[in-house]
């Protein structure tokens, strides 16, 4: 036995410096691969049953709204003579004759409207219009909001003060009033603009739809800008930003490559939750008759038209109503699921 060492002695135990044995080496091997931000998020997202269901429903509706109308035997503006106001699965007299003659006639699942247009395809195209407005408006909001918020948050000081005061003012502007006004007003300049060469695409989309994108983009980016600014103000304190600056990166590059990419989780979540609220507003406007132009259907205008024949054809109201409900609900649930999975603040 060696004698008890003096506590203050510098004499070292030589055994501590022997090469590590295989056993010891094994204990240092990392058992699990490191998990990146995306993998981590997707793993959590996949575990969330409600969010996964919502994701599947959104995918199914997307297919129904964007792909099925391409193959559907009827077109949304096609007026079938003699088959006006059919009920669910009904055939008109001429169609019954054709069936009797051995022809196959594609059924009107939801009947037809007062102009003899197949209602199923109108609901599907209406869903397409609503989703297009929701998605494009949200993309514009994402673009404007994130750039504005990032610039304000990154530069700070007086720039931030002035930019955020503008946001504060826009935030308190009563949105619905201005939207109704703008939706009416923008129609005419856009109709004139669509005659100018190079702007023909406006006619393809319909001036009303374009004015709706513009209106949403002009008013709703403020929420996004506030969120992004908050994130950027925290992120810009990080060492990698100082490092990038020291390496001579320009402000634009730092914002684009380092800061925006680092708050991508928040951006995805906020945009996903923006889609249902844009659809909500779009259907509201269409219901008031300020939305997309006839004969283009939108879920809101379909519901509004169905009011006249409510007593006899209630299914004309139920179909678009159910569609709006399902679309908004599943986007909301999907957004909530994404937030639980990707928002750093929700991690516990």
């Amino acid at each position: 036995m060696e004698k008890k060492k003096n506590l203050l002695s510098f004499q070292l135990n030589a055994d501590d410096f022997l090469p590590a044995t295989a056993d010891e080496k094994e204990s240092l091997v990392i058992m699990r691969e490191s998990v990146g931000f995306w993998q981590d998020g997707f793993r959590r997202f996949k575990k969330n049953k409600i969010a996964m269901t919502a994701f599947v429903i959104v995918a199914v509706i997307m297919i129904l709204a964007f792909i099925v109308p391409l193959f559907y035997p009827y077109a949304y503006e096609q007026q079938i003579k003699g088959s006006e106001r059919l009920g669910i699965m009904e055939y008109s007299a001429s169609e019954l004759d054709r069936i009797a003659a051995g022809e196959s006639v594609f059924p009107h699942f939801l009947g037809t409207d007062q102009n003899g247009r197949d209602y199923t395809i109108r609901v599907l195209v209406g869903a397409r219009v609503s989703m297009t407005v929701g998605i494009i408006a949200s993309a514009l909001i994402l673009l404007i909001g994130s750039v504005y918020g990032a610039v304000a948050g990154y530069f700070g000081g007086n720039v931030d003060m002035v930019m955020m005061r503008i946001v504060d003012v826009l935030y308190t502007v009563p949105d619905v009033l201005i939207i109704i006004l703008l939706a009416q007003v923008l129609k005419f300049p856009l109709q004139n603009l669509s005659k100018v060469p190079g702007f023909g695409w406006i006619t393809a989309l319909g001036p009303n739809m374009v004015s709706m994108f513009l209106v949403f983009a002009l008013l709703y980016w403020v929420g996004m800008a506030r969120i992004v600014r908050g994130q950027i103000m925290v992120l810009k304190q990080n060492e990698y930003v100082t490092a990038a600056k020291a390496l001579g990166a320009t402000d634009g590059r730092i914002i684009k490559k380092h800061l925006i990419t680092n708050c991508i989780g928040t951006l995805i979540v906020t945009t996903t939750l923006q889609i249902p609220s844009s659809i909500f507003t779009e259907s509201f406007l269409s219901f008031l008759g300020l939305g997309v132009q006839a004969p283009m259907p939108s879920l809101g205008s379909l519901a509004s038209n169905a009011l006249n024949g409510l007593q006899t054809y209630p299914e004309k109201l139920f179909a678009p109503a159910f569609m709006i409900f399902i679309i908004i609900l599943s986007f909301n649930l999907l957004g909530d699921g994404l937030r639980d999975a990707f928002d750093p603040k929700m991690k516990k």
Partner: protein, 305 residues
């Protein structure tokens, strides 16, 4: 504190001014005028009419005149409703909308707050799940669908409630439910999550430990802190209900201000458009300011800057 209030009010006035200016110029961007739709108007008569309402002057002069009159509280004469001033129309129609909106806010708070609190207290139990499903579904239904579906089932099918107008107390039921469904569900969700935060805090455990009953602990001790997010939501909520009632007023043919606003736009009744927009905007802005200031009084921890 005083500085904050003054600053908030000044911001509100600035916002109101911006809204008024924006509305004025946006409105005049539309080609055509209020007299074009009328049949067989001689050019002389049209010029005389335009001169009467000051529409013959350059746009910027019209703007200055209007803003000057506005500062004196004069919103001008309605062009389409002959003989009525805009102030008269607003005075007649606003109380209808306000009563409806106010009732809806009351219903939303009275139902949403207890629902959210109970859900938080029974976290993970059946009752909580029922409330979550109900409130998640509720925020996915636009008010025009609630009202049209209710109209179909309650008025057309069962003939229980009157479908149009606001003549009897029963006729308030459907518009108020339609207006308050979304905010009720939203408040319930808000309340549930903030109540969950509060319930986990130490002072709640202390309260329970010293023998405070469940009901008292939730509705007296926890509620005061948990209700703060709901208070902040009240400002935007009031705004949404005042303007969201446009569609409800249209469906139930209620003679409110929203109805007036929506129908004034296609007919180019400039003074009426300006008047209703400015009035509603000022109302909404004022509500937001009041809620912000009230918030600071309710929660002394919040330092206003």
């Amino acid at each position: 504190m005083l500085k904050y209030i003054v600053k908030r009010i000044l911001m509100g006035v600035l916002t109101a001014f911006i809204v008024a200016t924006l509305t004025f110029f946006i409105m005049n961007l539309v080609p055509g005028g209020p007299f074009l739709s009328e049949k067989a108007v001689t050019p002389q008569a049209q010029a005389a009419m335009e001169a009467k309402y000051g529409l013959d002057k350059p746009l910027f002069m019209q703007y200055l005149t209007y803003m000057g009159d506005l500062l004196h509280g004069n919103m001008g004469l309605s062009i389409k409703k002959r003989g009525f001033t805009v102030t008269d129309i607003i005075g007649n129609k606003f109380p209808v909308s306000a009563r409806l909106g106010g009732l809806a806010v009351l219903v939303a708070v009275m139902i949403g707050v207890p629902l959210g609190s109970v859900a938080a207290y029974r976290r993970g139990k059946t009752l909580d799940n029922i409330i979550i499903v109900f409130s998640t579904a509720g925020i996915a239904i636009p008010s025009f669908l609630t009202s049209t579906l209710m109209m179909y089932f309650l008025s057309v099918k069962l003939k229980l409630l009157p479908s149009l107008g606001l003549d009897s107390p029963q006729s308030y039921i459907m518009p108020v439910i339609a207006l308050s469904l979304y905010p009720t569900c939203y408040i319930a969700r808000l309340m549930r999550s903030s109540m969950l935060d509060v319930i986990g805090q130490d002072y709640m455990r202390t309260a329970r430990a010293k023998g405070v009953g469940t009901f008292k602990a939730i509705f007296k001790h926890a509620l005061r802190n948990a209700i703060l997010p709901v208070v902040t939501y009240l400002g935007p909520l009031l705004a949404a209900l005042m303007t969201g009632s446009f569609i409800i007023e249209k469906i139930f043919t209620i003679p409110g201000l929203g109805h007036e606003f929506v129908s004034a736009i296609p007919s180019r009744d400039y003074p009426l458009i300006m008047g209703t927009t400015i009035f509603l905007a000022c109302f909404i802005i004022m509500m937001n300011v009041i809620v912000d200031i009230a918030y600071a009084f309710i929660d002394p921890r919040i330092k206003l800057k």
